[in-house]
Symmetry: C2
């Protein structure tokens, strides 16, 4: 099968930004223009949740215009917080199809301009029929998952907080992270309840930011670099939108399924993955992912972080960027922020966060693990 | 280049429907299950504007669940009314990429449950910065285009109405059309003003409906049919979202650009196209498209319909289904409703609407010709 390559990646500073979403995209894009001539880009795929945060759709056209890329092919892809990785997946399919030689995947979100009191719009990502009318929010969904996981496997609130402690520590060395502040288990345990047992420090922040990646065919990639990042696998899998319809709410079937397909596509096993960026929207979810990705046995994921194995320097470093928790979680941008970190890791550009990894995995999800997108990259 | 094939297509009855959007999708899907075993489908791409009409996102997962297709790859693509054709374009890329053998493209919209008085949500498709704050609606945008076209080229309100007369006549023979009612130029001229010079009968209706197409690789296509429909071209091009930023508002640059790329991809010229389905959201737009697609000279599109050349039996039949105007315009479904009609035409299943065409073109657009999607199909 024809391979697709990532030849450049860019990311804005993540955090509370004064600029507009399109200015933030331009900041991320500028970073790739040192490698790729914008005139080479033939198609633009955009992940964004702008109908929720900006009362705006048609974002493909808006981004193409903002980056001077009209009249190129441009459109939006959407599965809530999985949109960024879906933009990459679509770019990978475009390049592998032979229809496009060089594609730009864009993820962006400007969240802070919207009052945080307005949660009804974010509920668009919950099933209208089953969940929206009940008023159960996204944090409440994850809280139910956490409660059930703790009940089944004996994990504690301290174990969840260990994920936050690790990811905040990693972000200390990430100059573009939303938070560069260490937190302790005690601080996490004492932080304000969001949806018990989840507390403020178990939760990813509301962030503004953008990230981009340039995907190229083998022929085109050679123009830009001698060592492009190979996309060994790009997969998507889907579970029921409402967690009420799942047999087992602590087993993220879509993540497991997408990972299984990715391992098959790449011809690799979990033991081959040397670094991973995973979707820790809430601390509990990073633990679920350890298990669904095969890094830990079922029901034992929380022990992995307790033992320090997912720190940089551990057996399988997870979220060296700081993850959604500390790097930040600008919804549509997150999937590509993960890819940006792995691009830096694989090309040795991550500074003090460098793990020396040659094989990496990214896992982005939307709708409480309803849509899961997995990429395996290698240098 | 590897070809992709359409091996089956389905469409619900279009109109005011009592059923839910997911029930309407199931109705369209049932039509393809006579040809394709649902277990063969590996990926689902969905075009829908559900954040506007249903306060719902994550529609890829919802459709996969409704059709019994979990845990397949599934996600939504969006460029307002161009979403249906983008679902097909994504399915075509997926199949050509080699990642997927059989893909389902879905378009759906349930519009009538939303009060028509609520226009602010539909304004999400206008640039928030330039147009939304001014309150100019989508019909008003097309009205400005119509006024300018009439001024420049001497077309009249009668000429615009001729498009409505033709498309309503075509829909008389379409059992799934929203309207099966002939209209005269006089009735059109006397109909209520929507945004002058456009009147009610210049405007596509608010409709519920769904359409689907199954795209397969050559190897997979052979399992289903000896005569699959070939996808000779699948292209997307983009113009500024706000028409205020365009040099010439009566020249749909994105449509022209996507058509030029499609002709190159297929190795064909306008004279080879034997039937077309085009995006007549308002009558003026069908006339603009005649010109941008090369069916008529610039400024002379209105003469084509005046001379009867775009009727079934004419030189280049356009919108034999009745078009958006009379078949109906369920936003996310429209691009695939066009494909459904061309699938019927190319396989000789269109009954009294049969044109005998062997080469066909579909043109779907979103955001007042900001995103244009062109497909060329052949038997």
């Amino acid at each position: 099968m024809v391979l697709a390559y990532i030849v450049a990646a860019g990311m804005s500073k993540i955090g509370r930004r004064e600029e507009s979403s399109r200015e933030i995209v331009a900041e991320a894009f500028e970073e790739v223009t040192t490698v790729v001539d914008p005139r080479d880009i033939e198609a633009v795929y955009v992940g964004v949740q702008s109908e929720v945060y900006e009362h705006q759709i048609m974002y493909g056209a808006l981004v193409a215009e903002a980056l001077g890329l009209l009249p190129r092919e441009a459109y939006r892809v959407e599965a809530c917080a999985a949109a960024g990785a879906l933009a990459l997946h679509t770019a990978v399919m475009a390049v592998k199809s032979g229809l496009v030689d060089v594609a730009l995947a864009v993820g962006v979100e400007k969240m802070t301009a919207k009052p945080t009191e307005v949660v009804t719009d974010a509920l668009m990502a919950a099933s209208d029929i089953v969940d929206q009318l009940s008023g159960v929010t996204i944090p409440a969904h994850y809280a139910m998952v956490a409660r059930r996981y703790m009940y089944l496997y004996g994990a504690t609130e301290e174990d969840l907080c260990e994920v936050a402690v690790k990811n905040h520590k990693h972000a200390l060395d990430n100059p573009k992270a939303h938070f560069k502040k260490a937190v302790s288990v005690e601080e996490c345990l004492k932080s304000k309840p969001v949806a018990t047992p989840l507390k403020l420090l178990d939760s990813a922040p509301i962030s503004d930011g953008a990230a981009v990646a340039v995907v190229a065919s083998e022929r085109a990639a050679r123009r830009y670099t001698d060592a492009p990042v190979k996309v060994l696998a790009s997969t998507v899998a889907t579970d029921t939108l409402s967690i009420s319809q799942r047999d087992d709410i602590v087993w993220p079937t879509a993540v497991w399924e997408a990972a299984q397909r990715a391992y098959r596509q790449a011809g690799l096993a979990p033991s081959h993955i040397q670094v991973a960026e995973v979707h820790d929207a809430f601390t509990i979810n990073e633990i679920l992912m350890y298990e669904a990705l095969g890094f830990a046995k079922r029901g034992e994921g929380y022990k992995l972080v307790r033992e320090g194995q997912t720190y940089i320097g551990g057996k399988i470093p997870v979220n060296p960027s700081g993850g959604l928790k500390a790097r930040g979680h600008p919804i549509g941008a997150t999937g590509l922020a993960q890819i940006y970190e792995l691009y830096l890791q694989l090309t040795g550009r991550a500074g003090r966060r460098n793990t020396g990894a040659e094989v990496a995995m990214a896992v982005n999800e939307g709708g409480v693990n309803s849509t899961a997108v997995v990429h395996i990259l290698a240098i």
